[in-house]
Symmetry: C2
Subunit: 412 residues, 2 copies
């Protein structure tokens, strides 16, 4: 089986071509938000490439796309090895996040086609619906549903930030498929992805064998105080929702200093009425907490909850918090991670075991099948940005490690 070779030129060309779809000439990058016209064009392109490779194409009832290379007996489902990721994007995204994993999956099937052979087990390349969660929440929706975490009806009835119903948009773009959700249960799942963090780039290592994935806790916190005149209200008589919000941000920073491994981010904030000389009557912030260790993540959540209680007392404000997302840490399949490392070794490519800081479809599929991820470096760790960048050489090495991992898994 070591006779397969990667068509690197085609892979790079596919990344380039898919990256042109939804390109934003004004603000840079591309915007292929899930189930928009631009994302439909991206889907059409991927399906066209699957057709060129003579894959069996299945689309499920929530729009997950599967391209299947049958095994030597024509079987398309039993004991399948799945590779995948997503092709939807955030606004003004780079060309790699998600797309790289799908297109490298296609490159693996092309290696078989180029050689004129079929695998010992079916190979499935998956492009999951709405991983980014920009328009419809939650993110990682297609893979979560595929793994049984959401029903098809829940997905289809999701109302987007623009007021649209997901099912309507899915039908509109022609990707409301016939296959029941969850039909294709793989025996293993691999996802190749850019790191979206700085570690590999900083350390000059080409491959990350991703052994686990951080737990994620997202909350929205709404603080209600009392608006009043900034010039006439004594400090002791204030109920300043803005101060309470700021206090949460600095508290979380202090907590991370006492709890190494915890990441805490407040990325979003709004004050009301947001006027220079009015004490904020309300403030809304989001909190993003992550930790590979669930106990530490729970500790951070608990510390935050206690701080909110302190603020309720000291500031005389009311505070409501809403869980937006909560995913336990995921430990990937030890054997699969070993195979990834061996594949990198066999190609003499430097690698390291690491934790995924970001959420990925693999964390959902890990609920139903042994899963692992392969990371390649992201320059300066930048992602969700037109400046997202990985060297062609690194992209090719990543795909080669994926191919070698597949070969190794199929040969056992």
């Amino acid at each position: 089986m070591t006779t397969l070779s990667l068509d690197a030129a085609t892979l790079l060309q596919h990344i380039e071509a898919l990256g042109q779809i939804g390109a934003d000439a004004v603000h840079g990058g591309r915007s292929r938000i899930a189930l928009t016209d631009a994302e439909k064009l991206g889907r059409d392109q991927v399906v066209a490439w699957m057709t060129e490779l003579d894959l069996t194409i299945q689309i499920d009832e929530i729009g997950n796309i599967f391209g299947i290379l049958p095994d030597q007996e024509g079987n398309t489902q039993h004991n399948a090895l799945m590779m995948g990721s997503h092709i939807d994007s955030v606004y003004n995204a780079g060309a790699l996040d998600g797309c790289y994993g799908v297109l490298a999956g296609l490159a693996v099937t092309k290696a078989f086609r180029d050689q004129g052979i079929l695998p010992t087990r079916p190979i499935i390349v998956a492009a999951f619906t709405n991983e980014e969660g920009v328009r419809y929440q939650p993110d990682m929706m297609g893979s979560l549903a595929h793994a049984g975490g959401l029903s098809a009806l829940q997905v289809l009835n999701t109302i987007g930030t623009d007021g649209t119903r997901l099912g309507d948009e899915l039908a509109r773009i022609g990707y409301h498929g016939d296959m029941p959700l969850g039909t294709l249960k793989p025996s293993q799942y691999l996802e190749l992805h850019i790191e979206q963090g700085p570690i590999l780039d900083k350390e000059g290592i080409q491959i990350g064998a991703v052994a686990n994935l951080q737990g994620i806790s997202w909350q929205k916190i709404y603080i209600k105080g009392k608006a009043n005149h900034a010039g006439t209200t004594p400090m002791s008589m204030r109920h300043d929702a803005g101060y309470a919000a700021a206090s949460i941000i600095t508290f979380l920073r202090e907590h991370t200093q006492q709890s190494p491994g915890t990441l805490a981010t407040v990325g979003s904030i709004q004050f009301e009425p947001n006027a220079i000389n009015v004490i904020p009557r309300a403030a809304t912030i989001t909190v993003d907490l992550r930790n590979p260790d669930n106990k530490s993540l729970c500790t951070a959540e608990q510390a935050l909850a206690e701080h909110l209680d302190t603020l309720r007392q000291s500031e005389g404000v009311t505070i409501e918090s809403e869980v937006l997302a909560r995913f336990d840490p995921v430990i990937f399949d030890e054997q699969l991670v070993n195979v990834v490392e061996q594949a990198a070794n066999s190609l003499s490519i430097a690698h390291k075991r690491m934790t995924s800081g970001a959420g990925h479809d693999a964390q959902m599929i890990a609920r139903i099948a042994p899963s692992a991820m392969i990371f390649v470096p992201s320059k300066d760790g930048i992602s969700h940005n037109p400046r997202e960048f990985t060297k062609d050489e690194d992209l090719i090495q990543g795909a080669k490690v994926l191919l070698a991992t597949v070969e190794s898994l199929l040969s056992h």
Copy 2:
């Protein structure tokens, strides 16, 4: 001279009628933003009432309106006693801020007309252009310019938040007057106003004899960090503009605890890109610092500047700060304040000396004439809000104290 009596019913009716102009049936209150159509209607109403009182009406080249009750010799300028405030409002304002002072001034002139007598010196009722500064900055613009702090050309060439030129809007609504700016220099200035703070209401005192006015320092602070993925960027590698902004807010709170009398407010904040899972690349906040003592105000400004330096170092962010407004504290005329207190005493009305936390036209006119202010209670200190409220009884008492103060000043 103690024969004059206030027509309280007409005063309350004028407040009610002016408050209807620009009323916002949907969001409450009224919006008479300077030089809009709604504010033109407010001006027309005030001018109509001035005409009813047979006052001499003068409008200067920046739209300040003056209604003059000549003295017994027909003199309209020499040794004049001026009362005034403004009739422009913030969005969804109460009916009292500014208007009360102008309309009580008219009530004082009405007391003379009702009695059929003329004062020993001219009485001028002023409605200054654009006190609120919502559409055109700076605030207190008309009185600042009247006192020589801005030229007519500077005022007229001011570009508003909506892109309009003030001079064009002034001409459009028909209030670009002939009188050169600064013509009517008074010998004394009195301004009756709601407190816009909680002190009188809380202490159950009907009259504030305002002895001084806090200094005001407004800054806009722009922090530039680096956007990055919330899940993959170690805490130690972040340049979090949002954290830096929050740290400024909590720092200012701590400073006020060490510096009694200092008020610090961050009323406005924006993060970019303001997304839950992206470390903010930029944050903009406004800072409102106030203190009746200029030295303490300078100390607060200096402490803030030092904290910004600390953040530049510790967070690796760039920070720019821009002065939006800076007014030194104002000490009102001791003799005038005494006369106000005596007037309250003569009417057996409870009063206290106090500091104005808010900025007022009086602080500008104090540059060119002995000035003082009279405050009445604001329920719960609420202002710039449809819920701004002062009891009719308190409004009447305030106008009576104003009238008694005027009588006392004219009798000397």
